[in-house]
Point group: C2
Chain length 456, copies 2
């Protein structure tokens, strides 16, 4: 893992980029086409990302029909939208016509409605129809992510007939790992994996070798739920069916990988209130995605200030309290975030169910009690020595135990509560929790001190 910054093994070299720029500058269509021809779409995407905005447009224009639109599925959304906005709908339609349907949907779904309508209007009827059907499913559903190219065969065929058809048929998906067996109404009867097919003799009927009860995914199912089914059952691909169990598409694991990655990313960013900006975004855009949480935090921070203000007399009488305050709140905040992070992830992965809610809450509270006591004793001793005041050590220890227990309890409860009312638990975010632990911490510490020492 060392020295990652210098690791460019799977990246585009600087030399290549210089060459691309030179070819764009010279408007050398042929040279550029040749150069790009040998690159994987992910590498083309990296080239595009590293070009300046104007160069990107020139790059795509120069390549013309030789530009593989698949590369657009691998660049940041902003970059994609910018390039597409500069191209004519007919050119985009030409580019999309060569793509897998899931990639085409991925490119179309983020476009403004008029633009995507204009592009769809230029597509051949069959493709337009298929893409529209995908786009009709809800955002982030399995129907949006599915591919509509697949191999389906009738149940009365033999292995030999299937193999012969595969050998003769030109219009097959680029790559497939199983064959779907469907009835006349396109209802799914079963699936046959290619290795099974290859290992069977020609006269065998495919119904004999098919998996009759494959796991299917409803087209309107949330994509995260689909990802969970894939992970749980180690699927490589799964049939996507509509309400009447008719086969409408196929989800493959490479789409699922992207969904899992995106979901974890969402959790991490939401926990930090870090917005959804990408590396290619401008500072102004990034600032805008983050300012809401800072503003909310400002208000919640003033709430904590308000608590301290109640005890201003106490602090004036004993400045040591002001000095030690941050220790109480920092520890509460840290313990709370530990509990919250674990709970948010457990919720994300559906590890928390009605059955174990109480156990999770109890566990976090017990953990908080144990760790709170340990830390409180340590802090109490240091504080007592520092200010040569044993009572002060006792007061801070008590308030830390209390604050950390509350932090553990709320760190576990807050996300579950939000989840219960249908809000993404990750947005509970450090901001709310740390304010809560700040408020409780200040109240406990200054309150106990004020009462014990008879101040304020």
């Amino acid at each position: 893992m060392a020295d990652q910054l210098t690791d460019d093994e799977v990246s585009v070299s600087d030399d290549l980029l210089v060459e691309v720029r030179a070819l764009i500058g010279a408007e050398d269509k042929e040279g550029l086409t040749q150069l790009v021809d040998g690159l994987h779409e992910s590498d083309v995407a990296e080239v595009i990302s590293r070009l300046e905005p104007d160069e990107r447009i020139e790059f795509v224009r120069l390549l013309g029909r030789d530009f593989d639109f698949t590369a657009l599925t691998e660049v940041d959304e902003k970059v994609r939208l910018h390039i597409l906005s500069e191209l004519a709908p007919t050119d985009v339609a030409d580019g999309l016509a060569d793509l897998d349907s899931d990639d085409a949907v991925y490119i179309l779904e983020d476009l403004p409605d008029e633009q995507s309508e204009a592009i769809l209007a230029q597509l051949p009827f069959a493709m337009r129809h298929r893409l529209k059907r995908s786009l009709d499913f809800p955002e982030e559903s399995a129907g949006r992510r599915m591919q509509t190219d697949f191999v389906a065969m009738p149940p009365f065929w033999t292995v030999g007939q299937v193999i012969d058809t595969l050998r003769e048929e030109k219009d097959l998906p680029d790559h497939f790992t199983e064959i779907f067996v469907v009835d006349a109404a396109f209802r799914l009867l079963g699936t046959v994996k290619l290795d099974r097919l290859l290992r069977s003799l020609r006269p065998v009927k495919i119904t004999e070798i098919m998996d009759e009860d494959p796991r299917t995914i409803q087209a309107d199912e949330d994509q995260e739920e689909a990802a969970r089914i894939f992970q749980r059952y180690d699927l490589l691909s799964a049939a996507v069916v509509d309400d009447s169990n008719r086969l409408v598409g196929i989800l493959t694991i490479d789409d699922i990988v992207d969904i899992i990655e995106a979901e974890a990313e969402e959790d991490i960013r939401a926990l930090a209130g870090a917005g959804d900006a990408e590396l290619s975004d401008t500072p102004l855009y990034v600032a805008r995605t983050r300012i809401p949480w800072l503003m909310i935090n400002m208000m919640t921070a003033f709430l904590a200030s308000g608590v301290i203000a109640i005890f201003d007399g106490t602090i004036q009488a004993m400045v040591a309290l002001a000095v030690l305050m941050p220790v109480v709140t920092a520890l509460g905040g840290n313990a709370g975030i530990q509990a919250m992070t674990v709970t948010v992830r457990a919720l994300s992965q559906r590890e928390i169910t009605k059955r174990n809610v109480a156990r999770v809450m109890a566990r976090e509270t017990i953990v908080a009690l144990m760790n709170g006591t340990a830390v409180a004793v340590a802090v109490g001793i240091v504080a007592a020595i520092w200010f040569a005041n044993i009572e002060l050590g006792g007061v801070i220890a008590c308030s830390i135990v209390f604050n950390i227990i509350c932090a553990g309890f709320f760190g576990a409860t807050l996300p579950m509560l939000l989840d219960r009312i249908g809000v993404d638990p990750a947005v509970a975010s450090s901001v709310f929790l740390s304010t809560l632990t700040d408020v409780i911490g200040f109240f406990a510490f200054l309150g106990i001190a004020s009462w014990w020492f008879g101040l304020g």
Copy 2:
């Protein structure tokens, strides 16, 4: 996404669990075997997880040879180790013999050395040899995760010969999606996807249809790097080769999915200092995994206290400063965590390279300047009105701008620095950063106030 807590769609029902418990209680081996037979290994794993520790052992013992050890790859590590510690090495060896080699390695690698040696000694020679070779590769390497069952064919064969061999050969992997073409020394020449094979005529030579330049993965490559190659090139499987380009195994995407998930999980937990405890762990164990960060945080929090202590005279002269302190540090902490989270994830995904380090740092600093100014103005106005003191508003605004700029800069720089020196950037963690922003915040606020108002 609403109401996830009641969603048990992909889970084991309570009734099933009651039934399992009854069968265990009655020592009804036959009944239990029948019941479990219809379950997917992931569901069996869930049953095991939800049983009490003693019941788990009974469950596995009762099933005997009918227990599918694959289920053990899906339970938490602690549960797995406990079950394995209660079984005789011969029984474990019997169970492992039926598994895919990658699953067997996964189960063996976490066991104490003597125990895994004892188990390996009971395995048939060929399997023992293969597992040992996998175990010889470094932890978390591709060689550890690879499967050693695959289909390899010589280059001079035709499609017809390959298909005939597949039909006759009994000892094939349960499932495969491609065939590897190797020379006499087992060096990889190319790969043939099954769909390509099926679509080719029998007399065609496999060298004509093979992909001659497949992406391969070095056996000692880090598993995260392997995952990145899979994602970048949308691979479903890849050949794993040793130093001499000899084919030693195959990595499939379902293993990769687990690696990606685990990596994201690691980042999230490290950022929060939340330890690696699982839902099945005892409170005592959980508490132990989290206490180190709390103790570190205690020390760093006293550092912040030390800064305040320098200015105790200032605070005594003007208690409003103590009241407002937390606003300065809360905002600095929040802005810092935003910058840090984004940077840690970008590093994880290798989006940050030598070329754009300076850009990332500059961007975060500019973002901090913009948002810092916006928030500072708002806080300044509120503080000025609250304490009817315009100068105090100015002082707090200045210190907030300064603190947030430092937070943005360090939030981006700290993880990159750690990455540079080979430390996981996620352990930069909220703890260090928030102490840094606390120290800077207190210093700036109290320092500027002390100088401006001539206090202390």
